[in-house]
Symmetry: C2
Subunit: 140 residues, 2 copies
Amino acid sequence: MKDKNSVLRKLKEAKFKLTPQRMAIIEILIRDTSHPSADAIYEKLKKKFPMMSYSTIYNTLNILKDLGEIIELLIRENKINYDPNTTPHHHFLCEICGKIKDIYQKPDIDIHYIDNHKIKKCRIYFYGICSNCLKNRKDD
Amino acid sequence: MKDKNSVLRKLKEAKFKLTPQRMAIIEILIRDTSHPSADAIYEKLKKKFPMMSYSTIYNTLNILKDLGEIIELLIRENKINYDPNTTPHHHFLCEICGKIKDIYQKPDIDIHYIDNHKIKKCRIYFYGICSNCLKNRKDD
DNA sequence: GTACTTGCAAACAGTTTGCATAGGC
DNA sequence: GCCTATGCAAACTGTTTGCAAGTAC
């Protein structure tokens, strides 16, 4: 998911309709670098669309996932976060502030087979304390 | 979680009671290499304990997790799987048969800081087609 | 005997589904 | 005008919680 227009084009090609709600969800995903969950998107949208429902959000998120425009992160228990950045990278969850950070430093694990299992995708999740929370601790 | 007795000792030290239900859950975790979820454990236990409830299972799983005797795997959406093997290793989920396999091949990522974030734990999840499902496909 | 555990039910959170209506194309 | 998408409610899944009764120690 690079720019809004390319996503809209892809949706159109796949015969999906470009409703205002869908476009608003896509705009949020592109702008929001916090890896929002469905309910974070819902909270942001209900100002503009007071009638917005979760079915619309999940419907759109699942379409975008199937089209390969967003990635789902299983970094928290019982909750899915979404990342519009589909280039190979990984994630860090801060145990203090709960923020998710992108990690580019580690090279992508470029393996096609492990123990004769065919590898199609790989997700790396790091957990710890983010730079900002570390700094605040020292300030105490 | 290596052997039953060491886990029981640890529970006792932490002032937890050794109930038959708890011991049965621990036995299952030690024997079952499939990385069971709470409901898989429930299904196995209800033969022996027809009255078994999920609160007991989650209670015990959370205690064992806090004691560092089991690890929780966020490899599937909206479901937690548990692994009694707490030595550093990673996991593979087969998209065909749904089985979770242990992966020892990749060296543990031994980093303490990335982008100034303090790393306390790291989980690597691989997704693809397992050796067995690949073999069955070829047999077609 | 005391305090923790159990089992049940109910609550809860996140996600999915069914269906009548609205609206994109 | 057709057919998909929306919004609402209800269902559903996995997990957590409150509480009376049971039980390990």
